[in-house]
C-alpha cells in the first residue's frame, strides 16, 4: 500500500487504521482538527477562519490561483491543492505529500505551522494519489491534542530560512509524536549510492518505488522526497544529495520555477542532473546503467496461477447451491480442487480452485446475487485484479455504478477489480426443476465463466459455451440454455463509472450563469412622413438624427405632481423612538411631526412659546442640516440642543426673549424622546437602522442570559461546596478552620470539631462523573462571564467597494461575502454553542434533572440547529451588506446556497435605482431579486424603500427578529442632491422600479398570510395614476398621468438619451402615452404607435418626449414583474376571477330555476285556492245550518316537510321506555368494616393487630383480613378509635371470643 510503513508504525499510539481514499482521509483528519470536514468553498473556510476557528478547504490549483482566500492574514487555514505542487506561490509555505499517509501527517504539521506563523499555508496532494484507496493511520484525539497543542502562538515571522527552520522543527515534532519519519526531505534506499532520484508529490512516490526495484536488482540507489516545497529547503536537499554522481529529478512539468531549478541551485558539486518524467523513470535509469547491470523484465512480478478464490455472496437459501453449481461447472473446464478451503466466512462462501485450462487468465472471482450484498469485507477477500459478477437490473455502466455504495465503488476501483453485471432473467421463464432462482444461478455461472475468460470488453462466452456443451451432453439442455443466456446477458462495467472522484466532494467554482437579456430593438426601414419617421427611428434605435429636437426634459410631469405633494419630505429626517423598545407602528416618525406635536404639548401646558412656534420650521431645518452633515443616527436630545443653540445665535433676541426661548427649548426637549435616534435619508441609513434595531432586540436578551448564567454559576458552586463540605476532606480540622474564619477559629477548636462531627455521610456525595461534569460546566461559564464580549454581537461582511461608517460592530471586507457568511456563522455559532450547551447542563444540574442516559448524547452533538429560538438570539448575528448590482451580476449562486443553508444570516441589499450603468443595459432590471429570494420559500424576503421610513423600520425590525435567513432589498436613489432624495426614492417606489413587498414565512400558513403588497401606492393598478392640473390658454385643465418606470428615471442624465422632445407641431394620434402604449404594444414591435412621456418645462408648459423602445420595454418588464407580484398578492387574480364568474353564472342559473319554480307554485296555489274556496262556498250554501261545513278545513301538511317528520315527532312524543334501575345491593352489617375516609391514622388499630388492620394508599385504615383477628380485637379497636370509624359487625360463628357482653358493646358501633 502506498504510504504505509508498517515496520515504522509499530511505535505509534492513539491512531486508528483505516482504508480510505486520499481525499477522504484528508477530510477526516480536517474534521478531527477543525471540528468539521474540509469546506467546499474556500470562502466558506475563510469565514470559519474569520470566526476564529481552524479551517481548511479542498480546492484545485486553478481555483486557488483565482481567488484570494489565502491572502488573508492571521488565519489558520490550510488548503489541499489538487493541482500539484508549485502551481501558484500562495500562502506562506507549501507541503507536498508523496503518499496519503504523508498528506495526513502534513495536515498536522501545516496546522501547527499556520498557528505559529499566523498565516495560512498549502498542502498539496497529487490527484492520482488522492483518489487512490490506501491503508492509512488516522490520528486519534490524543495524538491531535499533542501534535497541535503548542501551535497557537502567532509569531508573524515568515520567509527565508527562518521559516524553513521553523518548518523543520514542526515536521520533526510531528514525526516524534507519530513515530513516522518526517523531515524537510525524506530519504530512502542506499544513502551512499551515487545514483540518486529526487522528487516531490507523486514524483517522489515513483522515485521511491524505482529505488526499491533497483535494490532488488542489485543496483544501489537513493531516493529523496522533498516534503517542504516552498520555501525550498536548499540546505537539506544539498545534504541529502551529497556524494551523488547522477541525480534524476522526477518531475512531469517543465516549469522554469520547478524542482529542477531548485535542485540545480542546491547541488553545486558537479553532479549530472537530469529531469525525467515519473512514467519514464525506470526505463531511463535502466538505459543509463552499464549493460547487464539491471534487467527490468526480470523483476516484473508474475501472476500466481494456483489457489484462486471463488467467493459467493449468498442471497437466500440458494447461495451455497450456487457456489456448488459454479464449482461443478468450472470443474468441467479442468481439475478443480475443493475441500480444505471450502468454508463460510462472514456470510460468504469461499471456494478455492485451480484450473489449468484457465490458469493464465483466471482471477479471483466474487459472485453476488445483488449489488447490495457487496461489502468491503467480501471484496477484501479478493486479491487485486480479480473480478466481481453481480446480478443487477441495470441498463448502463453508470446506472449500475449508481447502485453501488460510494465506498464499494472506490474499493473496486482501487483494487482494480473487474466488474461484470448480469441482467436478471425474468422469473416467468424459469422452468428448471421448479427452482425459481436456479435460472439466476445459472445466469451467474454463465456470467462468471464469461468473466473468468475475459480480459476486457466484450466478455468472451467461449468458456460458457464449453460448459454448456458439457451440460447438454448430460441431457440438461435447460441448464445449458440459461448458462448461455447468462453469458450473453453479461456486461462489463466501464472503469470510469467506478472512479472514486464520483463520490468525493467536488469543488465547484463555476461562475454563475449570465443573466437573460431582453431582445434588442430592430431597425425600422419603413419610410413615411418625415417627422413621424424621425420620431419612429429614434423610438426604435435610440439614435438621435439631425434636425430632431435634442432638448432634455426638465422634469417628468408625474414627478412634478409628487414634488407638489411633498410626499417624502415630511418623513425625513425621521426619529426612531425609542430604539430600546421599538414598536412597529410608532417606531419611526418624521422629525417635523415629532417637533410639531411637542410644541403643541408645550402650549397645551399653558406656555405661550411664541418664539419657538414662529421659528419651528427654522429649527427643524437646522436640525435636518446637522443630521445630513453629521454621522448617521444621532440622539434627538443632543441634536435639539445643538440646533437650539444655533437658532438662538441666528435670532437677535432681547435678553428676555433669549431666556424665553431657552426655557421653551428646555420644555421642548423634555417632551420629545431625547434618546430617540434621528436618521436622515442616505444610502448607509438602512444599515445603521438595522444595526440599531438588532442591538435593541438582542442586547436585553444577552444581558438576561448573562444574569442567568451568573446565577447558575453560583448554584453550581454551591453544589460543589456542599459536596466538599460533606466529604471527609471537608471535615478535616483545616477545612473547618477555613470555614469558620479567623474569629470563629479563635472561639471554636477546629480539631475538636473535626472529631465531634459524625464520620458517616450526611448528604449523598456527588458521583465522580457528575462532579467532573459540573466542574467542566463551571469552567466554561466562568470563562464566558470573564469575557462576555469575546464574541462580537454583530459581525458584518461587506464586499470591496461598499464603504461604511456604521455603529461599533465587527466588520470585514471580503471578496465573496455571501459564501464566507456561512462559514463565519458556523464558526461563531460553534463557539457560542459551547457556552449554551454548558448553560443547559447547568440548568439541569441545578435542578438535579441531569440524566446521563438522556442528555449526554444530545449535548455532545449540540449544534446551532438544535438551539431554541431564545438561544439562537444569543448567537452572534452575521449580516452581509451587498449591492443589487453584485447580486444580479454573479452572486446568485452563493446567495442561493446561503438561503438554502437556513442559517440566520441577514443580507442587506442596497439596490440603487437609476444608476448610470443600468441605463446602458436596461436588461439588468429583468431579474427580480425579491422573487428569487421568495423562491427559496424559507427565507424572509423584504423589499423596502427609503421613501417610507416607517415601513422600512418595521421591515428591518422584522428582519432583526427573524431566526432564519433574511434578505432586505432596500431601494437607494441615485447619487443626487440631498433635497432630491426623498422625491426620487418615492418615484422609484411608485414607478414600480423597487416595489415594496414582504414575504415572511413566519406570518402564517397560507400564502395570503405570508405575502404582503399592500403598502405600495395604488397596488391594484399597473401604474399609479395622478391628476395633473395645468393652465392652457388661461383655462385650467386636468390630465391623468400614470407614473411609470420611465417617469421615475427620466430625471437621470444617464437616461436622457432615451428621451427626445417632440416638437408640438409633430403631435399626432400615432403618439400614445407610455402607459397606453404598453397596453397595446405587441412583441414584434410592428404597431403604428410611438410612446411618449408627459414633461413639464421650466415655464410650466406641457411637452411630449418620445421614449425609446428599449426604455419602453424596460417599462414593460417592470410592469410584468409588478404583475407577478400583484397576482401573488391576489390583485386581479385570474383564477379568482374565473371562479367568481363561474359562481355568478351558476347563481344566475339557479335564480332562473327558482323563479320558474316559484311561478309554477304560485299558479298551482292560486288554482287550488280558488277551487277550495269554491267548494267551501258551495258547502256553506248547500248545508242546512252551514256550521259543520264552516269548520276549518284540516291543515295541509307544510310543503317540503319530510314525510318522516311526523313519525319522528310522534316517536319523540311517546314516553321512552323506563330502564329498570339495577337493584341496589342490600347492605349487610354482619361483616366488620372501616369507614376509611374518616380514619385519622392514629395507629391505635394497627398497633393492636397489624394483620387485621392495614393502611391503604391514603394511609387510612381498612380491614385487610377479617380472619386475622378476633371479634374481641375488633370491638376493642372500635372503642379505641378516636374517629369512631371502625364497625365490628357480628362475630363469626367460630369466634370463641364473642361473648354476649362483647356483642352488646359492639352494637354501639354498628
Amino acid at each position: 500500500m502506498p504510504g504505509t510503513r508498517p515496520e515504522e508504525s509499530e511505535a505509534v499510539t492513539a491512531e486508528s487504521l483505516e482504508v480510505l481514499s486520499g481525499f477522504e482521509a484528508i477530510a477526516q483528519v480536517e474534521r478531527a482538527i477543525c471540528g468539521r470536514a474540509v469546506s467546499r468553498s474556500p470562502a466558506e473556510a475563510e469565514g470559519l477562519a474569520l470566526a476564529g476557528l481552524r479551517a481548511a478547504s479542498l480546492s484545485d490549483g486553478a481555483a486557488t490561483a483565482r481567488g484570494g482566500p489565502i491572502a488573508l492574514a492571521s488565519v489558520s487555514c490550510v488548503h489541499h491543492v489538487r493541482g500539484g505542487a508549485g502551481c501558484e506561490p500562495l500562502g506562506a509555505f507549501e507541503l507536498a505529500a508523496a503518499s496519503v499517509q504523508a498528506a495526513i501527517d502534513h495536515s498536522l504539521a501545516a496546522h501547527r505551522l499556520s498557528g505559529e506563523l499566523g498565516l495560512p499555508g498549502l498542502c498539496s496532494l497529487d490527484p492520482s494519489l488522492g483518489e487512490r484507496l490506501s491503508l492509512a493511520r488516522m490520528p486519534g484525539s490524543e495524538l491531535l491534542a499533542d501534535a497541535l497543542g503548542a501551535g497557537d502562538k502567532p509569531a508573524h515571522e515568515a520567509g527565508g530560512e527562518g521559516l524553513v527552520d521553523r518548518a523543520q522543527g514542526v515536521l520533526r515534532s510531528v514525526a516524534e509524536r507519530t513515530g513516522r519519519p518526517l523531515d524537510l526531505v525524506d530519504r530512502s534506499g542506499d544513502d551512499g549510492a551515487e545514483l540518486a532520484m529526487i522528487g516531490w508529490g507523486a514524483g517522489a512516490a515513483r522515485a521511491r518505488e524505482v529505488v526499491r526495484t533497483l535494490g532488488k536488482g542489485g543496483v544501489p540507489a537513493r531516493a529523496v522526497s522533498v516534503n517542504l516545497a516552498r520555501p525550498f529547503p536548499t540546505r537539506a536537499v544539498r545534504d541529502a544529495l551529497a556524494g551523488a554522481r547522477t541525480v534524476f529529478v522526477v518531475e512531469a512539468t517543465d516549469a522554469s520555477d520547478g524542482l529542477l531549478e531548485h535542485v540545480r541551485n542546491a547541488v553545486d558539486d558537479g553532479s549530472a542532473i537530469h529531469r525525467v518524467s515519473p512514467s519514464r523513470l525506470l526505463a531511463t535509469v535502466a538505459e543509463r546503467l552499464p549493460e547487464g547491470a539491471f534487467d527490468p523484465e526480470r523483476l516484473t512480478p508474475r501472476p500466481r496461477r494456483s489457489d484462486r478464490r471463488l467467493v459467493v455472496l449468498p442471497a437466500g437459501p440458494w447461495g451455497d447451491e450456487t457456489a456448488r453449481r459454479l464449482a461443478a461447472i468450472m470443474g468441467r473446464l479442468g481439475p478443480l480442487r475443493l475441500g480444505r478451503r471450502l468454508r463460510r466466512r462472514r456470510g460468504s462462501t469461499v471456494l478455492a480452485w485451480e484450473s489449468d485450462a484457465l490458469a493464465e487468465r483466471s482471477r479471483d472471482l466474487l459472485v453476488a446475487a445483488d449489488p447490495a450484498l457487496l461489502g468491503p469485507r467480501a471484496l477484501r477477500l479478493l486479491r487485486p485484479h480479480g473480478a466481481v459478477v453481480v446480478v443487477s437490473p441495470a441498463d448502463s455502466s453508470d446506472e449500475f455504478a449508481r447502485l453501488l455504495h460510494p465506498e464499494i465503488r472506490a474499493l473496486l476501483h482501487e483494487r482494480d477489480l473487474r466488474v461484470f453485471w448480469v441482467a436478471p432473467p425474468e422469473v416467468a421463464e424459469c422452468e428448471i426443476g421448479g427452482e425459481v432462482d436456479a435460472a439466476s444461478s445459472f445466469a451467474l455461472a454463465g456470467g462468471a465463466l464469461a468473466a473468468l475468460s475475459s480480459e476486457g470488453e466484450p466478455p468472451s462466452a467461449e468458456a460458457a459455451e464449453r460448459a454448456a456443451e458439457d451440460l447438454e451432453a448430460e441431457g440438461r439442455g435447460d441448464a445449458a440454455r440459461w448458462l448461455r443466456e447468462g453469458a450473453r446477458r453479461t456486461r462489463c462495467v466501464e472503469c470510469e463509472a467506478l472512479a472514486p472522484s464520483r463520490h468525493l466532494e467536488e469543488v465547484d467554482f463555476r461562475p454563475a450563469p449570465t443573466l437573460p437579456r431582453l431582445p434588442e430593438p430592430v431597425d425600422d426601414p419603413e419610410e413615411r412622413e418625415r417627422w413621424a419617421a424621425r420620431i419612429r427611428r429614434f423610438h426604435r434605435t435610440g439614435r438621435l438624427t439631425s434636425g430632431a429636437g435634442s432638448r432634455r426634459p426638465s422634469r417628468a410631469a408625474a414627478l412634478d405632481i409628487l414634488a407638489g405633494a411633498a410626499v417624502g419630505h415630511r418623513q425625513h429626517p425621521f426619529v426612531l423612538v425609542p430604539p430600546e423598545a421599538p414598536e412597529a407602528e410608532t417606531a419611526a416618525r418624521g422629525l417635523r411631526d415629532v417637533l410639531g406635536e411637542a410644541v403643541a404639548a408645550v402650549q397645551a401646558d399653558g406656555r405661550e412659546a411664541r418664539v419657538l412656534l414662529d421659528n419651528l420650521e427654522r429649527l427643524t431645518f437646522l436640525a435636518s442640516r446637522l443630521v445630513a452633515r453629521g454621522a448617521c443616527g444621532v440622539r434627538l436630545g443632543r441634536l435639539l440642543g445643538e440646533a437650539g443653540r444655533r437658532l438662538a445665535g441666528e435670532l437677535e433676541l432681547s435678553e428676555e426673549g433669549e431666556r424665553a426661548l431657552s426655557d421653551d427649548l428646555t420644555e421642548l426637549r423634555r417632551r420629545v424622546p431625547g434618546d430617540g435616534m434621528v436618521f436622515d435619508l442616505r444610502s448607509d441609513m438602512p444599515l445603521h437602522l438595522y444595526l440599531t434595531l438588532l442591538e435593541s432586540v438582542r442586547a436585553p436578551l444577552a444581558q438576561r442570559f448573562l444574569k442567568e448564567i451568573e446565577k447558575l454559576r453560583e448554584r453550581l458552586r454551591d453544589l460543589l461546596q456542599l459536596d466538599r463540605m460533606g466529604s471527609r476532606e471537608g471535615r478535616t480540622a483545616d477545612a473547618l478552620a477555613a470555614t469558620l474564619g479567623s474569629t470563629g477559629a479563635e472561639r471554636l477548636d477546629p480539631e475538636a470539631l473535626a472529631r465531634t462531627l459524625p464520620a458517616g455521610p450526611g448528604s449523598e456525595p456527588l458521583a465522580p462523573a457528575r462532579r467532573r461534569r459540573i466542574r467542566q460546566t463551571l469552567r466554561i461559564l466562568e470563562r464566558h462571564l470573564k469575557q462576555p464580549e469575546a464574541l462580537p454581537r454583530v459581525f458584518l461582511l461587506r464586499p470591496p467597494g461598499i464603504r461604511l461608517s456604521v455603529p461599533p460592530c465587527e466588520q470585514q471586507e471580503h471578496a465573496n461575502p455571501l459564501a464566507a457568511a456561512v462559514g463565519l456563522f458556523d464558526g461563531l455559532a460553534q463557539r457560542m454553542v459551547t457556552v449554551l450547551g454548558a448553560a443547559r447542563v447547568a440548568r439541569l444540574e441545578a435542578e438535579g434533572h441531569y440524566r446521563p442516559e438522556l442528555h449526554d448524547e444530545p449535548l455532545a452533538a449540540l449544534d446551532w440547529e438544535a438551539l431554541t429560538a431564545e438561544e439562537l438570539n444569543l448567537l452572534p448575528a452575521v449580516a452581509v451588506v451587498t449591492s443589487g448590482r453584485r447580486l444580479r451580476e454573479g452572486e446568485q449562486a452563493p446567495l442561493s446556497e446561503l438561503l438554502r443553508s437556513s442559517r440566520p444570516v441577514h443580507v442587506i441589499v442596497q439596490d440603487r435605482v437609476g444608476a448610470a450603468d443600468e441605463a446602458q443595459d436596461l436588461s439588468r432590471f429583468h431579474m427580480d431579486l425579491g422573487y428569487l429570494v421568495m423562491a427559496h420559500r424559507e427565507a424572509l424576503a423584504v423589499g423596502s424603500s427609503l421613501a417610507r421610513p416607517a415601513r422600512l423600520t418595521e421591515d428591518l425590525l422584522r428582519a432583526a427578529r427573524a431566526l432564519r435567513p433574511a434578505v432586505i432589498l432596500v431601494s437607494i436613489p441615485a447619487l443626487r442632491p440631498t433635497s432630491w432624495r426623498p422625491l426620487l426614492a418615492e418615484a422609484a417606489l411608485q414607478g414600480r422600479a423597487s416595489p415594496e413587498f414582504r414575504y415572511d414565512p413566519d406570518a402564517g400558513s397560507s400564502w395570503a398570510d405570508r405575502f404582503d403588497l399592500r403598502d405600495n401606492p395604488q397596488p391594484e393598478r399597473a401604474w399609479p395614476v395622478h391628476t395633473l392640473a395645468y393652465l392652457e390658454d388661461g383655462v385650467e385643465k386636468t390630465l391623468d398621468v400614470a407614473l411609470t418606470f420611465a417617469d421615475a428615471v427620466a430625471h437621470e442624465p444617464a437616461y436622457a438619451r432615451h428621451l427626445q422632445i417632440i416638437p408640438r407641431v409633430a403631435w399626432d394620434d400615432t403618439q400614445l402615452p407610455l402607459a397606453d402604449y404598453l397596453e397595446r404594444a405587441n412583441p414584434e414591435g410592428r404597431e403604428p404607435w410611438v410612446p411618449y412621456l408627459w414633461l413639464i418645462d421650466g415655464r410650466g408648459i406641457l411637452q411630449r418626449a418620445v421614449v425609446t423602445r428599449a426604455l419602453a420595454m424596460a417599462c414593460a418588464d417592470r410592469r410584468r414583474g409588478w404583475r407577478v407580484l400583484q397576482e401573488l398578492a391576489g390583485y386581479e387574480n385570474v383564477f379568482a376571477q374565473r371562479a367568481a364568474a363561474e359562481a355568478h353564472a351558476e347563481a344566475e342559473l339557479r335564480r332562473g330555476e327558482l323563479v320558474r319554480e316559484h311561478g309554477e307554485e304560485l299558479d298551482r296555489a292560486r288554482r287550488e285556492g280558488a277551487h277550495e274556496s269554491m267548494e267551501r262556498l258551495a258547502a256553506v250554501l248547500m248545508s242546512p245550518d252551514g256550521l259543520a261545513a264552516a269548520a276549518p278545513a284540516p291543515v295541509r301538511p307544510v310543503v317540503g316537510l319530510p314525510a318522516e317528520a311526523p313519525v319522528a315527532a310522534a316517536a319523540a312524543a311517546e314516553p321512552a321506555p323506563i330502564e329498570e334501575a339495577p337493584e341496589e345491593e342490600t347492605l349487610s352489617f354482619d361483616e366488620p368494616y372501616i369507614d376509611s375516609a374518616l380514619c385519622t391514622t392514629c395507629n391505635e388499630c394497627t398497633e393492636l393487630n397489624g394483620r387485621l388492620f392495614h393502611y391503604n394508599a391514603d394511609k387510612q385504615a381498612f380491614i385487610a383480613d377479617p380472619a386475622a383477628g378476633t371479634f374481641a380485637e375488633l370491638v376493642k379497636a372500635s372503642e379505641l378509635c378516636p374517629a369512631r370509624c371502625i364497625h365490628p359487625g357480628k362475630p363469626r360463628s367460630d369466634d370463641s371470643t364473642a361473648t354476649p357482653e362483647l356483642i352488646a358493646r359492639a352494637a354501639a358501633f354498628n
Partner: protein
C-alpha cells in the same frame, strides 16, 4: 435546516411522588394522638400537589407537634421553643421558591412564642401554620396551657385552671394584616385535608388551628366536641373550605359565613354555642412582607457590593 432537531429531552423524565416518598422517621407519637391525622393530611397534600420534597421545608419549635419535621422526608428545622415563626420567616425571605410549613402547639405558639406569632401574622409571609391545639401540655405530662379551659385540672393547677383560655382564633383575627384563618378538628380527616389544601393555596400566611385530642391527657372540652357533633358549627360558603356533601353530613349544624367578612368572623369566633369549623377569614390581597424582602434577591453579590460602595461614596466624612 433549522428546526429539524426539536426533540431535545431537556425536561426531566416524569416522576411521581407517593406517600412513602414523604414519610420520614416512624412517628413516636402515642397511638390515638390527633397529631397522626395532621401528619397524614400534610403528607396527602404533598402527594396530591406533587410538591418536590427538596422544595419543601417544615419548621417547628418544641412540643409534641413540633416533632412533625422528623416525620416528613423533606427539609426540616426543629428549632427553639416558640421560635418556629422567625425561622420560617427567614427561610421565606431568602428562599421564596420553597413550600414552608410551620407546625406548632398551643404552648409553643400561644405561650412562649406569642410575640413571634403576632408579628408573623402581621408580616403575612407566605407559609402554612398548623397550630396543634389540645388544650394541654402533653409532652411534659399534663400542665396548663394557654388554651386550657377554666377549671381544667392539670398538674400545675390541680384544682383547675384559674383563668379563661386564650382563643387562638380570636387573637389571630385581631391582628392587623391577618389574611387566612381556618379551624378544623383532627377527627374529620376529609375536612382537615381540605383545610390544609386551602391553606397551601393561599398566597400569604395561612393560620390553621387544628383542635385535637391528647390520648393520655384528654381534656373535657375536646372530648365534648368529639363526642357531640352538635358542638361543631360547620361554616358553609362557596368561597369557604370545599368538602363533599357526604363530609358535611357529619356535621349536625351548619351556618353560612362569607370568609371575606372580617367582622362576622370575629363574632363567630367569639360565640359560645359551638366551635366554628371551616374558613373564618381570607383576604388574598393583604400586604406580604416577603414580597419586599425578596426584592433584589437575584442581584449578584458583586453588584450589591458595588451598589453599596456607590451609596456610601455619597457621604463625605
Amino acid at each position: 435546516m433549522y428546526g429539524l432537531k426539536t426533540d431535545w429531552p431537556e425536561e426531566a423524565p416524569p416522576s411521581y411522588f407517593t406517600l412513602d416518598d414523604y414519610a420520614g422517621q416512624v412517628p413516636r407519637w402515642c397511638p390515638g394522638c390527633g397529631d397522626h391525622a395532621v401528619l397524614t393530611a400534610v403528607q396527602r397534600l404533598c402527594r396530591d400537589e406533587q410538591l418536590e420534597p427538596e422544595k419543601s421545608v417544615f419548621v417547628s419549635g418544641i412540643g409534641c407537634s413540633s416533632r412533625l419535621p422528623h416525620y416528613m422526608k423533606a427539609y426540616g428545622f426543629h428549632g427553639l421553643h416558640g421560635r418556629a415563626f422567625p425561622v420560617a420567616s427567614g427561610i421565606r425571605a431568602r428562599r421564596p421558591d420553597l413550600n414552608i410549613f410551620v407546625s406548632t402547639g398551643d404552648g409553643d405558639c400561644c405561650a412562649i412564642g406569642a410575640g413571634h406569632w403576632v408579628h408573623a401574622i402581621h408580616n403575612n409571609m407566605k407559609m402554612v401554620v398548623l397550630l396543634f391545639d389540645n388544650n394541654v401540655y402533653g409532652l411534659t405530662k399534663n400542665q396548663t396551657s394557654p388554651t386550657s379551659r377554666r377549671g381544667q385540672k392539670t398538674n400545675t393547677h390541680p384544682r383547675g385552671a384559674w383563668l379563661d383560655p386564650i382563643d387562638p382564633i380570636q387573637t389571630t383575627l385581631g391582628i392587623t394584616n391577618v389574611s387566612f384563618v381556618a379551624q378544623t378538628v383532627d377527627w374529620n380527616p376529609p375536612h382537615l385535608l381540605a383545610t390544609v389544601k386551602a391553606a397551601h393555596h393561599h398566597p400569604g400566611l395561612a393560620f390553621v388551628r387544628v383542635v385535637q385530642r391528647c390520648p393520655h391527657f384528654p381534656t373535657e372540652a375536646v372530648e365534648r366536641l368529639r363526642s357531640d357533633p352538635t358542638q361543631l358549627l360547620l361554616l358553609d360558603h362557596p368561597d369557604g373550605i370545599e368538602v363533599d356533601e357526604a363530609v358535611k353530613k357529619a356535621f349536625k349544624r351548619r351556618e353560612a359565613h362569607d370568609p371575606a367578612d372580617l367582622d362576622a368572623a370575629r363574632v363567630l369566633a367569639g360565640r359560645a354555642d359551638g366551635l366554628p369549623v371551616g374558613l373564618l377569614y381570607r383576604n388574598e390581597s393583604a400586604d406580604r412582607y416577603d414580597l419586599y424582602s425578596v426584592d433584589g434577591l437575584a442581584t449578584p453579590r458583586k453588584e450589591k457590593i458595588e451598589a453599596l460602595r456607590e451609596e456610601l461614596n455619597r457621604y463625605r466624612i
